[in-house]
Every structure is written in structure tokens, then in C-alpha cells.
Amino acid sequence: MLGTYITFPELLIWLPLIAGILSFFIQKEATAKNWALFASIGTLMISLASLMYSDGSQKSFDTSNVSYVWLPSIGSSFAVGLDGIGRLLTLLNAIAFPLIFIVTYNKQYKNAAAFYGLMLLSQAGLMGVFCAMDVLLFYFFWELALIPVYFLSSRWGGEKRIAATFKFFIYTFAGSLILLVGILYFYQLTAPVIDRAGNTLAEHSFSLDAFLKVSLTGAQQNWLFWLFFIAFAIKMPIFPFHTWQPDAYEQAPAATTMVLSGIMVKMGVFAILRWLIPLFPLAVARWDNLVIGLSIFGMIYASLIAIKQDNIKRLVAYSSIAHIGLMCAAIFTRTEIGIQGTIIQMFSHGINIIGLWMVVELLEQQTGIKKISELGGVAQKAPVLTILLVVIALANIALPLTNAFIGEFMMFSGLFAFNKWYAAFAGISIVLAAVYTLGMIQKVFYGPVNVFTEKVKDIQWSQRLVLIIIVVIIFMVGVFPQPVFNLTKQAMVFIMTKMK
């Protein structure tokens, strides 16, 4: 079979990576666009194929999947694999990029070859993060995903892009640095790598297995935990590490914002599941109340700010902070239902928020306006866009039969099992989400048409197609979520055993 020569995780990483590098050498803008679209569709095909070939027995965290010698002297190898969670998130990553490229197809970029090259590099980095089974490799891909975003935001962003990118840079740079320190400290505790003949190949190892075999004392875990967690917390982001995010979302080019909010924030959530929980189970239990407290306070905090926002992009940004807060809280409840809810929600939230950004982008393309109070009556001018938006917005407030309901229901259920009062307090955000989401719909889409929205036209067929795909996914996952649970079942078992 295919796996004899090259495996799915490798394909998923290499294809966007090579396509991205090649993209820099393209001269014509249109060629670069089509090249990127073509490559991303190829990646999607591979990702879909990987679902077909998945068998239920696929063990989670199976490092034996693929492992090449990379940096043998320091005990790091190119070890990649796909467990259920990895499959789900690489799928999200693979679906998102072609959709994003299609929706923003009309946009003109200066130096388009570089733009698309960086986008594809970022996709490769994300793929790597979701597949890496070696800590150093994970860190490498983490940075590979982030660094292109700095360039994308600072060169193709909005008016205040430099300030926004700078803030984003400071935050994530600080996070990355702390994470690196943590990784290196941990690394020193691992056992030497010894080959069959008994020769020592390296003093220590970066492999996940080696990291898992280190038994840390509770006290060690308690502080080492923070070196990892802060990096992830910034990435998600949760309160109070979030202030880079509204600025970055507002100023980055739309396509980059979609990647940032739809997929990149999931790196943080994913990293908690794959690295933080298995490596620091005691510390996760030790700090659960603190982290959950921060997360749910952040939910209410961000929701209240979202209500007061007049800038549509910042509204979506704060709404996202609220949603991510729930995911983080649900993981730290360490309940099976809460974590399973988080896993499905990572996928759902990615789809929904990308859809939301697309609508925002399509509106801005036509009107050039970001202020909610200046818009109105779009429904009369663009009924198809409005209907699709309403469905996506209802998914954003987790109405039953949409994908987000499943995740939120389970996450809240986990939170309730952990502490009733936390669930009740966090639940206020359910009400607040309805207030700001419906408020936004009402002010932008309903009401009378004004001078700014007079010339709005309904969306083109390609944009329709993209949003329809998103709506279909919303209902598919919302009505039949069980296949997703089946896909991630084994990975869940692993996480649950690690926490016991």
C-alpha cells in the first residue's frame, strides 16, 4: 500500500511545505493564486483519503508510524503520526485553506507569490504541529506555523498592522521562549538513546515516548507546567493573555485572520491535550481551579465586551475568546465528556468562525465598512448571503442541530460535573452570546437600507459554494456527531488513562 513508501502525515506536511517554497518563485499573480488553490485542494484530497484508510485499531500516539533520523546526536527524530484527534484537526486545516483561497480569490495582493507561499508554509507548520510525535519537531513546526503569520500581518495587513503585529509578536515570542526553556529542561531529564548494540547514540531524547517515561515529582510538575501552559494559553488565547488577539484579527489580512482564528488557536488547545495533560497530569489536577476560573471569567468578560463592540471584527474576535475559554475550562475538568466535547468543538469552532470571517470579509469588500452602526438592511440587497450568515451565526450561539451545540452541550456538562456553580456562571455566556450575535445580525442585515449598503450585491457562485459547504458541515456534524466521536475514541482512551 501507499504506507510502504510514504504515509499520510508525511504527505500532509510535505505537500504544502514544498508547494509553499515553490510558490515564492512564481512570477505571475494569477499563477500564484491558482497554484496555492491547487496545492491546497491536493492536501484536502490526501486528508480525506487518510480518513478512509483509518482503522479503528489505530493506536493513539503511535510513534512507530513514521520516524526518520533527523538530528541523531541530540536524540531528535522526524517522528510523525496521526491519531484520531490529529486526523480531525488536519482535516480542519485541509478543509479551511482551499475555502479561504476561493473566498478571497478576487483580492489583489502585492507580491502575491510571497503571500501565497507564506500561507502554504503556515499550513505546513500547522500540519506538523498536529502530527509531531517528537517534542523538538513539535516546537519547530509551532514556529513554522507562526513566523509566516508575522510577515503576512506586517506586510499585507490593515492600517495599524505594525503595532498589531508587534504586539502579537511580543506575546507569542515570549510564549515560545518560555516553552523552549520548559522543553529543554524536560529534555535533560530523559533517558539516553541506546541502539540495539548497546551504544549510546545521544545523551537524551526528544521523542514523545522518552518524555512520557520521565516521572516528574508533583513539585517539579507544578512549576514546569507553567512554562508549557503559558505558551499555550497565549496561543488560544485565554484571559488575561488575550489582548494581542483582537488587534491581530482586526489588522491581519482577512485570509490570515481566518487561519489564525480558525486553526491556529486550536494549536493551543491541541497542545494541552497532546502534551500538557500526558506530561503533567498532577499539575493539571493541581491547577485546575485556577485555570478554569480564569477561563470562565474570561468567557463572561469577553462576552460583555463583545456586546459593547461596534467594530464587527473585534466583535467576532471577542466572541472567539469566549468560546475558546469554554474549551480550555472543559479540558481542565478532566471529565471524559468535557474533553470529548472540546475535541469536537475544536473542529466545529474552526468551521464556524472561518465562516463568520468570510461573511465579514465579503461585506467589507463591498462596503469598506467595519462599523456595525453604519451598516443595515443588507438582507434586502443580499438575501443569499444573509441566509447563510444567519445559519453560521446560529451555530455560533450553539443552537441545537448545529455542530457547536454538540460540543458546548458536552463541555458544559463536563463543567457541571466538575462544579455546578462554575457551570452556572459560565452559562451566562450562553445568554450573552445570543445578545451580541443577534444584535449584530439585526444591525447589519435587518432594518432599512442606508447609503453605505445601497450598492451591496449578493455574493458570487463560488463564494456561495464555499459558504454552503460550511453550512452543510455545520448540520452534518450537528445532526450526526457520532462518527467524530468514533474517530477520536482511541485517542480519548489514551488521554483518560494518562490522567488517572
Binding site: 488575550h242 468578560y301 441545537p400 460535573a417 439585526q442
Partner: protein, 631 residues
């Protein structure tokens, strides 16, 4: 016979198919075809529901498992539907009244342009689908899906004319207030999951919530039922979440009749009646429900006395009548509540459609101060409306008499004498404000212009036929549960007994019962006469004092705004403008400034370009790396 009910999925599937068809083809369908699809699907569902009803009457019930909805960890929630006696009754009400209102809408909405017309029917079909799902769900989650789904349809239909921002505000208010209740509902579900591990009502192998009530202690039972009731206060417009319902009158009048009178708002009563086993074991919750129901009934009735919008009067009347139903639930008299749901569906749908006919005939006039004397021009509307008034006021032998009497009697039997007094007083108020409405709008002299008077005419048959059918039902609907006092068989009580086990209470003497009933009728009669005396030749006068307070709905909306909305917005503003800007961001920007400052010092490295910083970062990481590894 078991397989006779296996195809029950047809009942919700048809309106869903109608919705999809209408929604997808709305730009292409001619109006009559859109109307045909909308009505036809519900009509076939009605036939199916009738068939199901007779099957259930023959002693047949059925639970069907379609697929695993959420099957994770220890939680197994199936997509399960169920038909039993309680569901069968609601199926008939929903599809029956639903069909009549669809039919009525064909004429009422005819001014809408083609695609809006199709859109309207698609929403109505979707509503029927979710409502059917709500009453057919075999577990709390399916019920909840329907519960939120009808809320969505309510939102969409209240804001149907979405270019008007007042309507949009009303729609949003309805959704948000329902969401507050839904939060309670959800928390109750989480509690059940945490303690019982299932959301099934009851199962064949006795693993449902109602089978495993022993696993809950009394604190948990009280907590869960109170949270469920919180959900009901939102959906069924009870204190403190009732204020959305009067505003919801912004929607088209048939929608008010269907959603905000006959069906959706009774979902809370259905849910509690469905959970009667659970609620009966939570006496504290029952007391809360009893008093909230009584208080809502009274409060809404007082407000209804001074409203001048024909639909607003009916809206407050609905809130008040729902209060009666909760009062019944609070006394453990579940059957009476369901009975009143049914009769109320008939007479309130009738009254709303009658009001719609008036509004239609008077070209969108809703203010009763500008009406008067129209009984001469609209005979069918007038007579049917009059029957509706008699029914809601509780004149024997119309339907409202039997259902309201069984509620009052239940309160008396349980020795809740104060509540009984409140209910009796409210019943008199009900008769008073309904006949006030009737006399002001239909009697006396017309208060509009001569030209307008000439344009008034009776509504078309598509509208009057539903009125006549509903008037008939409102008149005779009470006969399904004639009390033993009149040598009746309490058929409804007997029919529902497998679902709702009534605890036997010490029956009161027949002579006492006659006396109570007689005095109720007498008092109601006095109220009607009073209304006649006061309003037969009505002239509007500016209200003052208490009247003004009532006209302004006790200023409850204003108080909510001041106590809850404004403070929350202020906190949001504080977070947005103060904390975000200076607190957290100030700290981060401080770090940023420090870096800027030091970079200005290190002039050789300073280029001002972000790319250079990033390059330095990468180099820095590598250096750090190498230092760590090899030294």
C-alpha cells in the same frame, strides 16, 4: 398492532419536507403553490395524528430509536421519538390548530410578495416540525432540540417584517429572554446527566430518569425541578421572564395565534406535565410554581384591563391564562393544566384569529380606541369572537368553563384557599377585560372616519372558516372532561392516567362544589355586566394614577432595563474601555515600549522593520538552543 405506530416519523417529517421545499424554491414558487405545500403537509400530519390518536386510545404506545445521537463515555443519548397518551393529545392540538392557522394565513398574508409569502409558510412549517419534535421526543435532549427550535421560529416570525427595527428588537428580546430560561433548562439536564446518567424519560428496561428517581436526594430533586421550571418561565412567559410575549405581537397575527397563544407557549406546561413524576416529588418546587402561576395570572390580568391594542390585550390574557395552567401544575393537578392547554388553544387561537380578521378588515388598525360598532359589518367575526369571549370567561357549558373550573376546584381541594381566592378574582378580571375588549371594539359607535367605515367588510372564507371551526371547538371542547358532578366520565383524566398518575385527594362534598361553581358563575356575570355598563358607549379618556401605571404595564420593562440591562452594559463598557485599554494592554505595551526603547539604544541593530526582529528571534532561538545543548 405495535407496528401501526412505527411510521409515526411521518408526522414531523412532512412539515420538515414542506419547510425545505418552500425554503429552497421560494423564489420560483407561485403563491398558490406555496400555500398549497404549506397547508398540505400539515393537513396530512393532522390525518396521521388522528390515526395515531385512535391507535393510542386503543392502548397502543410506541418508542422508536432512529440513531445514536451522542454516545460517548457513560452517556448514551439516542435520537428517539415516542408516542403515548400525552403526546397524542398535543399532536392533535398542534396539527389541528396548526392546520387551521395555515389555512387562515393563505388569505391573511396575501399582500406579501411571492418569495416572502413562501418564506412565511416555510417558517410556519419549520415551527410545526420543531413543535412536533418537542412533544414526540423520548428524552430531554430531543425535547430541548424542539424547545430551542420553536424559539428560533418564534424569533424569525416575530421579526418577519425585518425592515422595521421595533419588530427586530421584539424578536431579539423574545430570543434572549427565552435563552435565560433555557440556561436553567440546560443546567437541569447537566444535573440529570451528572446524577442519573441518562436523559431518557422512562425506558422499557427501567433505566430512564423517571425510573431512577431514587438516585436523587430531595435537594437535587428540588434543584433540578426549579431549573426546569426556570426554562418553563421563559418559554411559557411567566414571572419574571414574561415581558417578551406582549412585545412578540409584532409578528403577523396568525403567528401570534399559533405560536404565542396556542402551541409554543404551552411547551413549558407540556414539559412539566411530562415530568410529573419528578415534580410530584419536589414539594418546594410545586409551591414555587403555584405562587408564580397565581401571581402571573393576576399581574397579567390587571395589565390587560388597560391595554388599548387589541393584540396586546390578548397577549396579556395569554400570559394570565398560562399562569392559571401553572397554578394547576403547582397543585399537582396536571390533567387540569393539560385540559386548559387544550381549551385555551381553541378559544385563544379563535380570539387571535378574530382579532386578525378585525385588523385585516380595518386595514392594519390595531388600536381599539379607533374601532367601535364593527359588529354590524363583520358578523361572522363578531359572533365567533363573542363565543371566544364567553369561553375564556368561563360560561357554562363552553370549554373554558370546564377547564378553568377544574383548576379552581383543584386549588380548593388542596386547601390552597388564598390561591383559590386569587384565581377566582383573576377569573372575574378575565371576564371583565375580555368583554371590555368586545364592547369597545365591536359595539357602540364607530370612532374612525366615514371613508374608513365604508371600507370595512367581512374577511374572506379562508379566514372565516377557521374562525367557525375554532368557535365550534371552543364551545364544545370542554366535553372531553366532564366532571363526575355532572355525571361525566372525566374521559381526559382517564385517557391520560397511564402518563399522569393523579394522587387521590379527599373529594369535597358535591354541595360545596355546586356552591363554588355557582358563585364563580355569578361573579363572572357581574364582571361582564360591569364591563357592559362601563364600555357600551366608550369614549377614550387619558388614564391617571393606577390606570396609568396599568397602561404602562407596571413599568416592569423600565425596571428591568434599569436594574439588569444598563448595569451589565456599564460593566461591559468598563471592561472594554478601561481594563482592556489600560490594565492588561498597558502592561503589554509597556513591555513593547521597553523593547522599543532598548532597540533605540542599540542603534546598530535598529532598523524599524518587523522582519529584522523576527530574524533576530529565530537566531536567538538557535543560539539558545546550541548553548543549552552543547555547553
Amino acid at each position: 398492532m405495535e407496528n401501526a405506530l412505527q411510521s409515526m416519523w411521518v408526522i414531523p417529517a412532512l412539515p420538515l419536507a414542506g419547510f425545505l421545499l418552500l425554503a429552497l424554491l421560494r423564489n420560483y414558487l407561485p403563491k398558490h403553490l406555496a400555500a398549497f405545500i404549506g397547508c398540505c403537509t400539515v393537513f396530512i400530519s393532522l390525518l396521521a395524528a388522528t390515526y395515531v390518536f385512535y391507535n393510542v386510545k386503543a392502548g397502543n404506545t410506541h418508542v422508536a430509536h432512529y440513531f445514536n445521537f451522542i454516545d460517548v463515555a457513560k452517556l448514551h443519548i439516542g435520537f428517539d421519538l415516542k408516542i403515548d397518551q400525552l403526546t397524542a393529545i398535543f399532536l392533535l392540538i398542534i396539527t389541528g390548530v396548526g392546520f387551521l392557522i395555515h389555512l387562515y394565513s393563505v388569505a391573511y398574508m396575501k399582500e406579501e410578495e411571492g418569495k416572502n409569502y413562501a418564506k412565511y409558510f416555510s417558517y410556519l412549517n419549520l415551527f410545526i416540525f420543531f413543535m412536533l419534535l418537542l412533544v414526540m421526543g423520548a428524552n430531554y435532549l430531543i425535547l430541548f432540540i424542539g424547545w430551542e427550535g420553536v424559539g428560533l421560529c418564534s424569533y424569525l416570525l416575530i421579526g418577519f417584517w425585518f425592515t422595521n427595527n421595533n419588530y427586530n428588537n421584539a424578536a431579539k428580546k423574545a430570543f434572549v429572554m427565552n435563552r435565560i430560561g433555557d440556561l436553567g433548562f440546560l443546567l437541569a439536564l447537566f444535573w440529570l446527566i451528572a446524577k442519573v446518567g441518562t436523559l431518557d424519560f422512562s425506558t422499557a428496561d427501567h433505566k430512564g430518569v423517571f425510573d431512577l428517581l431514587d438516585q436523587l436526594n430531595s435537594f437535587e430533586k428540588t434543584g433540578i425541578t426549579l431549573l426546569l421550571f426556570m426554562g418553563a418561565t421563559g418559554k411559557s412567559a411567566q414571572i419574571p421572564l414574561y415581558t417578551w410575549l406582549p412585545d412578540a405581537m409584532a409578528g403577523p397575527t396568525p403567528v401570534s395565534a399559533l405560536i404565542h397563544a396556542a402551541t409554543m407557549v404551552t411547551a413549558g406546561i407540556y414539559m412539566i406535565a411530562r415530568s410529573n413524576v419528578l415534580f410530584s416529588q419536589a414539594p418546594i418546587t410545586q409551591t414555587v410554581i403555584l405562587w408564580i402561576g397565581a401571581a402571573t395570572a393576576l399581574l397579567a390580568a390587571t395589565i390587560a384591563m388597560k391595554q388599548n391594542d387589541i393584540k396586546k390585550v390578548l397577549a396579556y390574557s395569554t400570559v394570565s391564562q398560562l399562569g392559571f395552567m401553572f397554578l394547576a401544575l403547582g397543585t399537582g393537578n396536571y390533567v387540569a393544566a393539560v385540559f386548559h392547554v387544550m381549551t385555551h388553544a381553541f378559544f385563544k387561537a379563535l380570539l387571535f384569529l378574530g382579532a386578525g380578521s378585525v385588523i385585516f378588515g380595518l386595514h392594519h388598525e390595531q388600536d381599539i380606541r379607533n374601532m367601535g360598532g364593527i359588529s354590524k359589518k363583520m358578523r361572522v367575526t363578531y359572533i365567533t369572537f363573542f363565543i371566544g369571549c364567553l369561553a375564556i370567561a368561563g360560561f357554562p357549558p363552553l370549554s373554558g368553563f370546564f377547564s378553568k373550573d377544574s383548576i379552581l376546584l383543584g386549588a380548593f381541594e388542596q386547601q390552597h384557599y388564598i390561591v383559590y381566592g386569587i384565581a377566582l378574582f383573576t377569573a372575574c378580571l378575565t371576564a371583565f377585560y375580555m368583554f371590555r375588549l368586545l364592547f369597545i371594539s365591536f359595539h357602540g359607535k364607530y370612532r374612525g372616519t366615514e371613508a374608513q367605515w365604508h371600507h370595512i367588510k367581512e374577511s374572506p372564507a379562508a379566514m372565516t372558516i377557521p374562525l367557525i371551526v375554532l368557535a365550534l371547538l371552543a364551545a364544545i371542547g370542554g366535553f372531553v372532561n366532564i366532571p363526575t358532578l355532572f355525571h361525566g366520565k372525566l374521559s381526559l383524566t382517564a385517557f391520560l392516567s397511564p402518563v399522569i398518575a393523579m394522587e387521590p385527594v379527599a373529594a369535597i362534598e358535591h354541595s360545596t362544589e355546586y356552591m363554588l361553581m355557582g358563585s364563580t358563575i355569578l361573579l363572572v356575570l357581574v364582571a361582564v355586566l360591569l364591563a357592559y355598563k362601563m364600555f357600551k358607549n366608550y369614549q377614550y379618556k387619558e388614564a391617571a394614577g393606577l390606570g396609568k401605571t396599568l397602561e404602562n404595564k407596571w413599568y416592569i420593562d423600565e425596571w428591568y432595563d434599569r436594574i439588569i440591562v444598563q448595569p451589565l452594559l456599564a460593566v461591559g463598557g468598563f471592561f472594554k474601555n478601561i481594563i482592556e485599554k489600560s490594565g492588561i494592554d498597558g502592561l503589554v505595551n509597556g513591555v513593547g515600549r521597553a523593547v522599543n526603547y532598548s532597540s533605540r539604544q542599540i542603534r546598530l541593530l535598529q532598523s524599524g522593520q518587523i522582519g529584522v526582529y523576527i530574524l533576530m528571534m529565530v537566531i536567538g532561538i538557535l543560539v539558545l538552543f546550541i548553548v543549552q545543548l552543547f555547553l
